[in-house]
Symmetry: C2
Subunit: 536 residues, 2 copies
């Protein structure tokens, strides 16, 4: 039942919100005032009143540089904020708390489907402009704030005021929360005593600790192993590690047969009733829904104890970029397994062939973009993606086959870039990623026939390579040796390593991939010819 | 009424589809067979039967390099294909043609809202696997095709066969189309005689011809004009050209007061009934729907006679990237007016602050990305965006004020990059875009005090600059002079011009923009200091 203190608390929040927003006088046209649209300030005020480590001074710093109260909640920046909701906030209620409580109780009883509670609210309630977009678009005029405060029984001369009754009253929320937490911890300890193995497993997962020697299960290859598509090597990795890492949880956006992300022993995450799986299953049918899939991975990652992954064609990551960006901003270990990673996908043509995607992800902060060249590099890339618990990874994989290369290894892959094929007194360096690395190797062999010495560098991850020491990076790309890059994606961004580029300058086209590779110049012959022009 | 020839035609299409898809034997796992999911082959077969310039040999080249029948329809590549539908195709019907025709008639009668006709179909109808995903995932086995052909009354030994009755019967569709086209042309000529001025105006718009001297209406500025945000200069341009270019049609994704895209005389595109506008209005409320907005611009552009534009915050172009990509692939003049184009938007923080966006768009083929530095450049950018009828443009605009610069001009802007501030015997070049150009100018002045000569280059468009002659580009960036770039976005991609970069290497943060610019080093003082390290 609502009591007068509930109402007093709500009114305190409303008047406090008016002060907080006026203080943050940035002239920003899209600012939360008393509106229900943009609830950022409101969240901070609630955290303050509920006793989180957020002082009144912090509230006065709303939207100020390096404050605990940024314009939109960022996870890890503000005590009590666990998830960055992204560009959009959430809606607060009106005065009908009993109605809302009743709706929540009713929704709880629905266990076989999600429930939506529609809360009709009045924007800027209390202002003379209530119900108009004016109160979303700009702060209240001083006289309007005076009226709002009077209406809610506050002294207009008082600013940033919280009545002691409200602080006192809200204490019981804190106590309730502390009690619940203590009970949960007790329950966990009891469980750990009763089931020591399961208990330590739960603790392992929630502390993001990986099983000892789990990387021993990653497959390794030699050049005598048959050529396979890197999406196929990825399937092999998943089959090897799925049981070793029971926290691995994910699936594909309706492209499982193309992404090859379903391991042999996978059980679908489905209600028993459907007969397709169980809620203890770990393989998810996301549907053709890249944005929803990425947002789901963020939710799973923020919950903890889970290594979430999602899969689609690399080009379709564009449909989920808003949520992928939040994985990076929120420091979530979300793993994106993206196959069909170039014009090498062939017949589906330019609507499916990524061109700008790699540049977009390489320019995005706090995310690892990988394009492995063969089986060993795929194993290395999975090791890196899973061990980087504080950032997401995008693993770009091929539809077409590639040979297992002489000189590749899991360990070298972890450096992001390395010398795959050495040549004493190299006159040119050929650097490539993914499916183009083996073309570079063939080109180097052609050049050797013409007595031209070419070093081949594989660069599966710009980001990891740039985290290596300057000394190491210079050992891979020594001063004075010209560099030619080869990657079947946009050449944009390659200038930082290469003096000349073999890459895409247009959209691709539809056809068998070997013909397309020839059409766009991704052949050993053309690479060797270009190298001769560039070499010192 | 359905007749036997209708059925024969449908069955011909089905058996022909089986042959077409078997011929395109690419092993591609996501291929249209007889499925209703992936209707690409079907569209070509219809075009062939209906008499477009698409021969049986063209059909046999389905999904082959440089064929007229790529894996997914591309506009301008195949006679009769006017729009690239993108990664997804459309659904064909079943045998109940009368039912479908009736539904269409019924839908036509609904004039106040869109109608959806749900056509339940059986995937792979006719195959022994009909109704299963198998017929979506892989071509029919030879014996299955034999059965399908028998079932539809065709000779299994015959391939790529179209009965003459079908060709004959389908002639009447051609005749019907030709008649309709002739009637329309006649109507247009009649209209042009009756209303010569309106008639020539229609012809002007549909031929993408712009009014003579329309660029004379673009505002020009001198340094004595007051500093304004480039989004404000954009509003001024729209106010000047909206009446000169009646084909300009667009709006904002619920951010009109922030994007400043609504010109003074704008009338909203709304049903009369609502009282908010009329269907003759040219200003659109797209709603918070960036992807839908971009797709709408593509539809408007493909219709012709319209210069469509849409607006939002630059960072939110990520939500519509799939459709923006199709603007570029389809060679549509869609204009994206994207404001709040850097950390300079301030308090809204990193969820709203673009970092990787520019790199993503600069790596995308056939699209112009602009970041104008002042009023003259904004005018120049609009001239370029409107005159480039075969590709889309993204115009990145600032929330914060910038001065009108000495040396900027509409004409120089059209070159994509130019020397804004010359210095005899320059020891360093400072190159910037948008709001950072004026910071570079201030830095150059600081350097001058220390007797260091710095040239300032403004680079509003990488794409247009790279289309200039090598001679011109070398005149802007001569060999041997070190270059420092300054742009409040990801430094990724700048290596092609600059030896050192002042830019973003992380996400931004929430705060007043001047403090953020200081925090991340975008000040004249820091730029000058960095320049001293780089200069020769």
């Amino acid at each position: 039942m609502t009591n007068s203190l509930d109402i007093l608390t709500i009114n305190t929040i409303r008047t406090l919100a008016a002060d907080v927003v006026r203080k943050a006088n940035s002239g920003h046209p899209d600012r939360f005032v008393l509106s229900n649209g943009h609830a950022c300030a409101l969240q901070y005020i609630l955290l303050h009143i509920l006793g989180y480590d957020l002082t009144m001074d912090d509230l006065k710093q709303f939207r100020q540089t390096d404050s605990k109260t940024p314009g939109h909640p960022e996870s890890h920046l503000t005590p009590g904020i666990e998830v960055s909701t992204g560009p959009l906030g959430q809606a607060d209620g009106d005065n009908d708390l009993d109605g809302i409580a009743a709706a929540i109780e009713k929704a709880k009883k629905v266990t076989d489907k999600p429930s939506i509670i529609k809360v009709k609210t009045i924007i800027g309630i209390g202002s003379k402009h209530q119900g108009s977009e004016k109160v979303h678009g700009s702060p209240l005029a001083p006289d309007d704030i005076v009226e709002v405060k009077k209406k809610y029984g506050f002294n207009p001369e008082q600013f940033f005021h919280v009545p002691n009754e409200v602080y006192e009253y809200c204490k019981h929320f804190r106590e309730r929360g502390a009690k619940a937490e203590a009970e949960w911890k007790q329950l966990l300890e009891k469980y750990c005593i009763e089931y020591p193995e399961l208990g330590s497993e739960i603790k392992r997962r929630f502390s993001n600790k990986l099983p000892d020697n789990w990387t021993d299960h990653l497959p390794r290859y030699t050049p005598s192993d048959p050529p396979v598509a890197t999406r196929k090597s990825s399937e092999t990795v998943l089959n090897k590690i799925a049981d070793v890492l029971p926290e691995l949880f994910g699936g594909s956006a309706d492209l499982t047969p193309s992404n090859l992300t379903r391991w042999k022993t996978a059980i679908e995450f489905q209600p028993e009733s459907g007969g397709l799986g169980t809620y203890s299953g770990r393989y998810v049918r996301f549907g053709v829904r890249e944005h929803g899939m990425a947002a789901t991975l963020n939710g799973l990652a923020s919950y903890g104890g889970i290594i979430p992954f999602g899969a689609s064609f690399l080009n379709f990551i564009s449909y989920g970029l808003g949520a992928v960006r939040l994985s990076a901003l929120s420091c979530f270990r979300a793993i994106y397994i993206m196959t069909h990673d170039s014009i090498g996908l062939g017949e589906d043509g330019p609507t499916h062939q990524p061109i700008e995607t790699a540049a977009s992800l390489r320019a995005l902060p706090n995310i690892l973009f990988f394009r492995p060249a063969d089986g060993n590099e795929v194993s290395g890339v999975y090791a890196a993606a899973i061990q980087n618990t504080e950032r997401p990874s995008v693993i770009a994989l091929s539809r077409q086959n590639v040979p297992n290369l002489e000189g590749s290894s899991v360990e070298k892959t972890l450096k992001g870039g390395y010398v795959l094929k050495e040549a004493d007194g190299a006159q040119i360096i050929l650097v490539g990623t993914g499916t183009e690395v083996s073309i570079a190797v063939d080109a180097a062999n052609l050049l050797e026939k013409d007595c031209i010495k070419a070093r081949v560098v594989s660069l599966p991850s710009f980001e990891l390579f740039e985290e290596q020491s300057l000394e190491y990076r210079l050992s891979v790309f020594p001063d004075g040796i010209p560099v030619l890059s080869i990657e079947a994606l946009s050449i944009f961004g390659w200038s930082k390593y290469a003096h000349a580029n073999l890459g895409m300058r247009s959209f691709g086209s539809s056809g068998p991939y070997k013909e397309l590779y020839k059409k766009y110049g991704f052949t050993p012959e053309n690479t060797a010819a270009k190298a001769k022009e560039v070499k010192s």
